[in-house]
């Protein structure tokens, strides 16, 4: 077997099938694998079951493009560049998508359980909220908790009393069942070792939990370079199945040490995609008929240089934070 795991962007998108369950690296508007998100939209992927610790612009793009049937998560928005997920909101209103709400910690612990191979996560968060309202089990209401769907648990949650030290009511949560995790990171070695700089968010759990993990990186570096300082690495080689070098692959989201969030781009997206017509128009301008290089060409060097991080600060002091 070759130790080189390189594939192309098109091949990466083809690994995600219609109906796959999928998650991404990053946090809200940081380190989202946008090059792949755009390619999934170009390839008109359908019926995705998106499971995210928390959503962000990538959710909004995929949902707006009609790629997603089920979204399990806790939050979607663009931080200060757009206060809520207008595309998700529209599709929820039209009942065109199933949304299953958990809390943020619940989602994180579900990912941890999956990464541990555990049968469930256990926590005391969010007791007494409508997140645990049995009437609001949306996958159950849709008849999908009958045990025949490999990504969907038979219950949204269960309660038990702590059997050990009498700590009280506990919530049991199902582990997430992920076909594919797509990461967007600073560096990956030829054999798949990932080095994330800055906060690693929930990337290690995502990589371990998913059946297939694809790592998009700003640069593929010699594996031996990363192995000289193994304590600085984030994800071991064998948990990454495929790698792609894809500079600026997270744009318009940001990447610690490499480039800032493109606030103007996100504001423009948020402002223009309240309606389906608006989304389709935006997609026509920025996604369809493009590939990653033509997309970067369209952005242009001046804009990308403005976003480029200062290597001492790890962010761009040139990019106005208000996106102005």
């Amino acid at each position: 077997m070759s130790t080189d795991k390189r594939i192309t962007l098109q091949q990466a998108a083809e690994i995600v099938k219609n109906g796959s369950s999928l998650t991404f690296s990053g946090f809200t508007i940081w380190r989202r694998p946008f090059a792949l998100v755009y390619e999934l939209i170009r390839q008109q992927r359908r019926g995705l079951h998106l499971i995210e610790v928390q959503g962000g612009p990538q959710t909004e793009f995929l949902v707006g493009a009609g790629c997603v049937d089920i979204w399990e998560s806790c939050w979607v928005g663009h931080e200060l560049y757009g206060k809520y997920g207008a595309n998700l909101s529209r599709k929820v209103g039209n009942k065109e998508i199933i949304v299953e709400d958990y809390s943020h910690a619940e989602m994180m612990f579900r990912f941890s359980a999956a990464a541990q191979g555990a049968a469930y996560a256990v926590t005391q968060t969010s007791l007494g909220t409508d997140i645990h309202n049995p009437e609001y089990d949306m996958l159950g209401r849709a008849g999908l908790r009958d045990g025949t769907h490999p990504h969907i648990a038979k219950h949204k949650y269960q309660f038990v009393e702590d059997p050990f030290f009498g700590a009280g009511a506990q919530v049991l949560l199902p582990p997430v069942k992920l076909d594919v995790a797509v990461l967007c990171v600073q560096q990956v070695g030829e054999e798949g070792t990932v080095r994330v700089n800055g906060q690693y968010y929930s990337d290690p759990e995502s990589a371990r939990a998913a059946d297939i993990t694809i790592a998009f990186a700003e640069e593929i570096v010699p594996e031996e370079y990363l192995r000289r300082n193994a304590d600085q690495n984030t994800i071991p080689s064998f948990e990454v199945d495929y790698i792609i070098e894809c500079p600026f692959g997270a744009h318009p989201t940001g990447m610690f040490g490499r480039y800032d969030v493109d606030g103007n781009f996100l504001k423009d997206f948020y402002g223009r995609t309240r309606t389906q017509e608006g989304f389709d128009d935006f997609a026509k301008e920025w996604i369809h008929g493009q590939d990653h290089m033509s997309y970067l060409e369209k952005l242009g060097w001046p804009r990308m240089l403005k976003l480029k991080a200062n290597t001492a600060l790890n962010y761009s002091p040139r990019e106005s934070k208000g996106g102005k």
């Binding site: 928005g77 809520y84 910690a105 994180m108 007494g128 702590d162 968010y201 800032d260 790890n314």
Partner: protein
């Protein structure tokens, strides 16, 4: 002690920011969200609480950002931090009971401090789907105290929120959904709950026994009766202490010249 600013020298956002900062005690471990709360905590860090420990939900622990981050995932969070990690750490720390205070927001609040950030109207047929919970219920479940910062509109201060995203003092016991005091549900994780709501009209607190909200102070220009008229429930105004403490000149200096000079979260008051 710096002198208080005159009314024309500050705006409502300044007042909220300073009121929020005053909720922080030195040496506390504080969970910070994006926006005004982040400015408030950093203001406390610059003034009366230099030893507070700041945790960002995305995984920065004991951060001392020299420059205001745009969100908790921002590279700016990490400069000067004790450790940079991930969400599993941040939420484990909260569940472990190490967090003293969290700042949160909401679209609706009820008289027992239950907060909704999920949807407006019936969850199954929403008028508007909002962002969803984020970490709001998690921080509110585990921190000793939580402070909510909200825009004050009558439609937001309601007897019952349309969806309990984040648990107040009287919450629903499932599967039946009957209301119980949160201490009956949380077992060993019971450490406290919402301690204040800072709205654009006043500062509200919760009765120790009943968990019911009452008006504590009014912002300048507001009377208790006016604020009661801005709530859909019968607001207790019997315990009002007076006016909300005004920002000092020193605090305004930190907000506008040091923390948020571009006016991203706290717009500057126009001079003249």
């Amino acid at each position: 002690m710096s002198e208080y600013a005159k009314p024309e020298e500050f705006g409502l956002a300044d007042l909220l920011c300073c009121a929020a900062a005053r909720e922080v005690a030195d040496n506390e471990i504080v969970f910070a969200g994006t926006g005004l709360p982040m400015v408030a905590i950093m203001l406390a860090q610059k003034t009366h609480a230099p030893n507070l420990k700041l945790i960002f939900e995305a995984g920065t622990l004991d951060g001392r950002p020299p420059e205001l981050p745009t969100s908790v995932g921002d590279a700016r969070c990490e400069m000067g931090a004790s450790r940079s990690s991930g969400l599993s750490d941040a939420f484990s720390i909260a569940q472990r009971g190490l967090v003293d205070l969290g700042f949160l927001g909401g679209a609706e609040v009820d008289e027992y401090g239950n907060v909704n950030t999920t949807c407006i109207g019936d969850y199954l047929n929403p008028e508007l789907r909002l962002t969803g919970s984020g970490g709001n219920p998690d921080i509110n479940s585990f921190a000793r105290r939580t402070v909510f910062i909200m825009v004050h509109e009558k439609r937001r201060f309601v007897p019952n929120v349309s969806y309990i995203t984040s648990p107040g003092w009287r919450v629903k016991k499932w599967p039946g959904g009957e209301f119980v005091h949160r201490r009956e549900l949380y077992g060993s994780a019971y450490r406290g709950g919402p301690s204040a709501v800072i709205s654009t009209a006043g500062v509200f607190r919760f009765d120790d026994q009943s968990g019911r909200i009452y008006l504590d102070t009014c912002h300048p220009g507001q009377t208790p009766e006016e604020i009661r008229g801005m709530c859909q429930f019968d607001l207790d105004i019997s315990r009002v202490k007076g006016e909300t403490e005004l920002p000092t000149r020193e605090e305004l200096h930190f907000i506008h010249n040091v923390l948020d000079p571009d006016g991203i979260f706290i717009p500057a008051v126009k001079k003249g």
